[in-house]
């Protein structure tokens, strides 16, 4: 299967531009070899004095037609990979007649004039200058000529469909007609005594036979192989006509303004799909969009958007239209196109009022402002392209640390932002921050050396994050439900693999929804990354022996964050009740507050004041622990990342281990 630059939406890449230069070179070479660097020779077609134009053009057309038909029939190239021009009857009839006039007057057409200029023809230079001028004239008169430009627009129409015969049969008839033209052209030249040397020649006979045999071959090989990547359900004519009916009624389109309004309102019934290249997607995309390659659309539709209103967009409309039609044939009638594509969205919704030529009514002005702030607010100034990757979007936030919901809303969907939702899977499944990945905090823990609930080794943790597509440069945002420690336990895992670009969403998912921010139920998909742990990152986890040594030597403070009843030994759910002798108790619950919008950490100033009383020095070592390491992760985060304590140690095994070892001292 050949993927073209057009098919991969990379026609503007450097490689494609180079390929175009090489193809142009062969084009110009062929034209000049044929004698098309002479206007007199070209114009000869119109006076029956030189039929070379007809011979060359039809030979080329038939050659490419037959060659491409074989490639398609053999399944080497999909029609979706080709740029198929729309049929616009009015524009092409009027344009064709005018073009013929210009061709006869000038003696050139644009391509031949470029070859003619190379051969030193000054009339070719004049023609080219005139053609550039004619294009400028068209631009200036566009408002006037626009009705003709769009008159009779019929989308992509094939001639064999227009006249109702099969493609191979039409190709054969076309080839026969071309061969007939070749013989006619040779005969005309023979009678006129100019050229015609090939009439009835062995060459012409053999050439004619070869073309006809090649065209007959198309009838013999099986009909167009259906693309393996777009398995097509058998499409009944009734489906097709129903689809065409919807197309005619414009029911397959969504206007940019409608889309902008619905996204702004957080409409979760929409699945916005960007089918451009990942590079373009990374550079900019409409907020909430997901990037899906065209070939992956059927799978994506089945898994993520079957019950949603799917809206496809690319820069323009051709690709989404082709994809939409293919999906429609597969039974997805819930697929819409964004009218005028991303270009239209930029022009109609995001173009600043000040740059608009037409007067903008006041209500629209307000809308444009809100759209711009929703879709562009966090984008860098126009002169600077948005970041391609990495933690750049973090910009004004401190990592590791807390981020506010507004910041996340502004940066959501940007490349390099990886959101992890730590709530339970049922909660996640029924609605989550768009693009966020579900990860249960328990999946970063396991039994290690007989100790339950131990943070997994770094290489295993790296694998867990790699499998969800997290990259080494990502800024990870941790979202909790009602337990801050769920987010901070994942944070401990990130600490262990040396990934310090993370933040906890302040207020968690409750605050996000309380603020009526966008939520959806789409499961995001990202290819697994090759993330690996940074060796030696975990310098904070300590074991029982280390704790015991510090406890005996009083070289580190021990901070037990369990609830006061467990610390005092009134309650116990372990082998022994009590606490490590000399430990200080500050329950983790003291650090959070339950607000109207859910649980949040207390303001940093309050925490600062509270801990300053317990630990005046920010550089002295402090060992934090709880029962299993879960609650202690929150205190670890508060002390180290919010308050700037520099030497926080984490006794992961905690009271579970300590209580189970009778030789270790316990106080009540």
């Amino acid at each position: 299967m050949i993927e073209t630059y057009f098919g991969s939406d990379a026609l503007d890449s450097g490689k494609a531009l180079l390929a175009a230069l090489v193809i142009g070179f062969l084009f110009g070479f062929s034209l000049e070899r044929a004698g098309f660097s002479s206007s007199r020779k070209l114009a000869g077609i119109f006076y029956f004095t030189d039929m070379t134009v007809l011979k060359v053009m039809f030979t080329a057309l038939i050659t490419a037609m037959i060659g491409l038909s074989y490639c398609m029939a053999l399944g080497w190239i999909r029609p979706e990979s080709l740029f198929l021009m729309d049929t616009i009857y009015g524009a092409q009839i009027v344009g064709g007649l005018l073009f013929g006039l210009g061709f006869a007057m000038g003696g050139w057409c644009p391509g031949t004039a470029a070859a003619g200029l190379a051969a030193g023809k000054m009339d070719a230079l004049l023609f080219l200058g005139g053609a550039a001028g004619g294009s400028i004239l068209f631009n200036e008169l566009f408002a006037v000529i626009k009705p003709v430009y769009t008159c009779g627009a019929s989308g992509v129409v094939h001639i064999y469909d227009s006249i109702g015969i099969s493609k191979p049969l039409f190709a054969l008839l076309f080839t026969l007609a071309a061969v007939g033209c070749f013989w006619g052209a040779e005969y005309i030249e023979l009678r006129r005594g100019k050229g015609g040397g090939l009439w009835n020649s062995p060459f012409l006979k053999a050439f004619s036979l070869a073309l006809i045999v090649a065209a007959v071959g198309l009838l013999v090989i099986p009909a167009e192989a259906v693309s393996p990547t777009l398995p097509c359900a058998s499409s009944l004519p009734a489906d097709e006509s129903a689809m065409l009916q919807r197309l005619q009624e414009g029911e397959d389109h969504i206007e940019p303004e409608d889309l902008a309004d619905r996204l702004l309102a957080g409409d979760s019934s929409l699945a916005l799909i960007d089918i451009r290249t990942p590079g373009e997607f990374a550079a900019f995309h409409i907020r909430t969009a997901v990037n899906v390659a065209m070939a992956d659309l059927p799978a994506y539709m089945a898994s993520h958007a079957a019950n949603k209103t799917a809206v496809l967009y690319s820069n323009g409309m051709t690709h989404p239209a082709q994809a939409r039609d293919a999906l429609d044939r597969m039974g997805y009638s819930n697929v819409y196109l964004l009218t005028d594509g991303l270009d239209g969205f930029m022009q109609r919704c995001l173009k600043p009022v000040s740059l608009r030529g037409e007067p903008v009514p006041e209500p629209l002005k307000l809308k444009i402002q809100s759209w711009r702030s929703f879709f562009l607010e966090t984008a860098k100034p126009d002169s600077e392209p948005p970041p391609q990757s990495g933690p750049a979007p973090a910009g004004n936030i401190r990592l590791p640390g807390l981020v506010e919901t507004a910041w996340l809303a502004d940066n959501l969907g940007r490349n390099g932002i990886h959101v992890i939702d730590t709530r339970s899977q049922p909660e996640y499944n029924s609605g989550h921050i768009p693009g966020s990945f579900c990860l249960n905090p328990e999946s970063v823990r396991g039994n290690s050396g007989g100790l339950p609930s131990m943070l997994l080794p770094a290489d295993m943790l790296a694998r867990v994050f790699a499998l969800m597509g997290m990259n080494a440069n990502d800024t990870v945002i941790l979202v909790y439900g009602d337990k801050v420690q769920d987010a901070t336990l994942i944070a401990m895992a990130l600490e262990r693999i040396g990934h310090s670009h993370y933040a906890v969403l302040n207020g968690g998912f409750s605050k996000w929804t309380a603020e009526k921010r966008a939520v959806d139920t789409i499961l995001p998909s990202k290819p697994a990354s090759s993330l690996v742990a940074k060796a030696g990152s975990d310098t904070f986890t300590v074991d029982a022996d280390t704790v015991l040594r510090h406890q005996k030597n009083k070289t580190a403070a021990i901070l037990d964050v369990r609830p006061a009843d467990f610390f005092s030994g009134v309650k116990s759910d372990e082998a022994r009740a009590g606490h490590i002798p000399g430990a200080i108790n500050r329950p983790y619950t003291e650090d959070v507050v339950k607000a109207d919008t859910g649980v949040t950490l207390k303001p940093a100033a309050d925490l600062q004041a509270a801990y300053a009383k317990l630990f005046p020095s920010k550089d002295a070592p402090i060992i934090v622990h709880c029962r299993t390491g879960h609650q202690a992760s929150q205190t670890f985060f508060v002390l180290k990342h919010l308050l700037g304590y520099t030497n926080i140690l984490y006794y992961d095994a905690g009271w579970t281990e300590w209580a189970a070892h009778p030789e270790l001292p316990v106080a009540k």
Binding site: L11, A104, A115, A131, L137, V148, L204
Partner: protein, 174 residues
């Protein structure tokens, strides 16, 4: 005449073989780029670039050229046009066919032919924008794809050409 420097021009190729090479080039363009050959698109973008040099704000806000962005020349058809010139130059050099001249009938004045070439260019340039392509982009490439509109365009080009030919015939009279 100095026969050692003014050597004879090589003959043109057999038109069917030139056509085969052109067809193979077009096929390569489909398979590599996913789009056919084109020339007028490149010229129009040069036009947009020139106009933007003179009146940048006007072009940026114009409905047609404005859609091509601030760098209209970064486009595959512009490179293809440059390639066409270079390929033509290579072939003309190889055939010793470079000759700076204004091609016309012997009885046609230079001025008349110059005006015809320029005016023909303006008309063809305008028409190719209207029809979204020229002989290469629509007639040849779209024709090979068997697109109805492209074949309609090709028929109309010949219809228009033959209808106009009689009126402009004298530029070729010897």
């Amino acid at each position: 005449m100095n026969h050692t420097t003014q050597s004879k021009q090589a003959p043109y190729w057999n038109p069917y073989l030139a056509g085969l090479l052109l067809g193979a080039t077009l096929l390569a363009s489909f398979l590599v780029l996913g789009a056919g050959l084109g020339a007028s698109g490149g010229i129009a973008r040069v036009g947009a670039f020139v106009e933007a040099c003179a009146a940048p704000a006007h072009v940026a806000n114009s409905e047609y050229f404005g859609g091509w962005g601030s760098k209209p020349l970064t486009y595959y058809l512009v490179l293809m046009l440059a390639g066409t010139f270079l390929g033509g130059l290579f072939s003309a050099l190889l055939a010793n066919r470079i000759n700076v001249t204004l091609e016309r009938g012997a009885s046609c004045s230079r001025g008349r032919r110059a005006v015809m070439a320029l005016a023909g260019g303006v008309v063809a340039g305008f028409a190719s924008r209207l029809a979204q392509g020229c002989t290469s982009g629509q007639a040849l490439s779209g024709g090979a794809l068997l697109l109805t509109g492209s074949l309609v365009f090709m028929i109309c080009v010949f219809a228009g050409g033959y209808a106009a030919a009689w009126f402009v015939r004298r530029q070729w009279h010897d």
